[in-house]
């Protein structure tokens, strides 16, 4: 028996004028899940959060929380809290005052409010700054106050709208892990919005990739990365070589794709019939690059290195295959041996297994 979802978007459509921001979208989010909404700018991520928080009402469909329709429930009565993209801290209140704001609305006893504020301050390690005003804080500290404020009421669902966008790279990476740890400790449902695929991959249990107000794919991070269901998802999540070809033969476990004399074996991850067009999605790191051809490889092609990008842990090689196709391969610098150093204009041999590629039909 499947667990009942905590949050359900049931065929939700939201329009602004004649622009459709959310288009007939259906999505389930489960209790204690760390759920990421990933998508390019303007695809409707914030709008989806605002529908759940109650700042927007769906034009069609329903938003359910714990099985109950939220239609007509104003934001201030929803057991959902949001950490705003801009933090939206009250400039006239201290850090402690900001955190206490929501608790005061619940008319909790004073002692309990003070206790809860202290607990939150300790959680985000801001105890020493409790009496500061927001404009006396650094960006990272403000972000923590916003997080503490949205967690103080112990919401059923915490909505985080690009919570790390304003932080510098190093702080952002540290905070990702803190968020993940926090979510596990509090056992609350987190819904995070981001357009950074690394961020989504690092923190989330499940990811929904959004495009133009629709869900393109939902799944655990590895699934999204290893088994994208469309060229669009494959390209949005990480780097990929998309090789278009004609299906020539379909075997039970793999498919033969042909293109300009290049023949590819791809695991049959999608149902195709001979004569149709399909794509093989190949991640650069799954392609081996060497000076000599290896006989054991089931897929291989020769080409000339046109460009090398050194990225620290990996190097990326742009290779023009003899058939004219340009393919990118990546190799960990740790596994590169001096004797094998590959340079620009070298003739190289690329190889990959049938399982390395994903067969896509759209």
């Amino acid at each position: 028996m499947a667990a009942q979802p905590l949050v359900t978007f049931d065929r939700v459509t939201k329009r602004f004028g004649d622009f459709t921001a959310i288009d007939d979208l259906t999505l389930d989010i489960f209790e204690r899940e760390f759920f990421a909404l990933l998508g390019p700018s303007g695809c409707g991520k914030t709008t989806l959060l605002r529908l759940l928080a109650g700042f927007e009402a769906p034009d069609e469909g329903r938003v359910l929380l714990g099985g109950e329709d939220l239609a007509g429930v104003p934001p201030y009565r929803r057991p959902v809290n949001m950490m705003f993209q801009s933090y939206a801290l009250f400039p006239h209140l201290t850090v402690a005052g900001n955190i206490a704001f929501g608790l005061k609305q619940d008319r909790l006893p004073k002692a309990e409010i003070a206790e809860r504020v202290d607990e939150m301050l300790a959680l985000v390690q801001l105890g020493a700054l409790a009496q500061r005003k927001p404009d006396q804080l650094s960006g990272g500290q403000r972000q923590r106050v916003a997080l503490a404020r949205s967690l103080a009421k112990r919401p059923k669902v915490l909505l985080l709208d690009e919570p790390l966008a304003a932080l510098d790279r190093k702080l952002r990476e540290e905070t990702r892990f803190e968020l993940k740890e926090l979510q596990a400790r509090l056992a609350t449902t987190f819904v995070i919005v981001t357009h950074d695929q690394d961020e989504a991959m690092t923190v989330a249990d499940r990811i929904a990739v959004m495009d133009h107000g629709r869900i393109a794919q939902v799944g655990v991070p590895a699934e999204i990365y290893e088994q994208p269901n469309s060229r669009w998802v494959a390209e949005f999540v990480g780097d990929v070589n998309l090789i278009e070809g004609r299906v020539t033969t379909v075997y039970p476990s793999f498919v033969l794709l042909e293109r300009d004399g290049l023949r590819l074996r791809v695991a049959a991850t999608a149902v195709v019939s001979p004569g149709t067009t399909a794509w093989a999605a190949l991640r650069p790191e799954k392609i081996s690059i060497a000076h000599e051809a290896s006989d054991s490889a089931e897929n291989g092609a020769a080409g000339i290195v046109t460009d090398i990008g050194y990225l620290g842990t990996v190097s990326r090689y742009k290779v023009r295959l003899d058939c004219g196709l340009v393919v990118e391969a990546a190799m960990m610098n740790a596994s590169r041996r001096a004797s094998q150093t590959i340079g620009v204009n070298d003739r190289v041999w690329l190889s990959w297994t049938p399982e390395a590629g994903v067969l896509l039909t759209r």
């Binding site: 700042f55 104003p74 934001p75 201030y76 959902v80 801290l89 704001f101 609305q105 949205s150």
Partner: protein, 305 residues
Amino acid sequence: MGDMSKTTNTRSSRLIVLAPYAWLVLFFLAPFLIVLKISLSQSTLMQPPYAPLLALDAGWQGLKDFFGALSLDNYAALFTDALYRRSYLKSLEVAAVSTAILLFIGYPVAYALARAPRRWQAILVLLVVLPFWTSFLIRVYAWINILQRDGLLNDALLALHIIDRPTTWLATDSAVYIGIVYSYFPFMVLPLYATLERMDESLLEAAADLGAPPWKTFFLVTVPLSLPGIAAGALLCFIPITGEFVMPDLLGSSATLMIGQTLWTEFFGNRDWPAAAALAVVLLVILAGPILLYQRREARALERR
């Protein structure tokens, strides 16, 4: 090199800062010293109607005579005569009550302006100030017309059956309040609008998100954040209303004798320039507090930007 451009920069910026002070000395401090001097003089029937006059040709002795003849008698008279005290108090009362009424009416109007669709805001703000492009006197006479016994106000109230016989409006406190509230309306609305319009709407959403219904959000977030606007509007109204002359004179009665009228009577009616000057100096001293407060706020707001 960078240092040099910096010093010339600060020098020229110092000059720019000095310009308004020169202006103040010329058009505020100098006239004020003259008024202060007259307030310490005695009333005479000569031209000019006060003594002593500074006689520089009499040398050192003349200077000594001049300062010897100055006295605080006029100020003493201000405090002993109940008429003066009453008009000061009346002025402060009218200014305080009018400012409160203005805030009460102006806040919702400014709030509505700030929340109106962007493309309408400029036009709506224009509508608030538009009446003030016609002559002030014409508008005052229009009010006299509206407030008189068979005027528009009584006609409207009769038609709505709120009153069943014409009420006297002219020459009452109500008329003075109506006139003052009307003429200072933009001075309250515009500063309020300026702060409310700048307010981050996501703060209101954050308050709602944290469980505050709209009315609580208004008192816990909107009002505290618009305090600079409230202070600016209140001071911008309170200070000039205290010295208001036209409205109480044309719309009020002898019961609404404000300090502006008393001063006018002393100056033009009794030709007692020293008494009038003393009245003006005391008014300035009373208003010095609010004026300084206003200046400080403005300076701080500028600094923050």
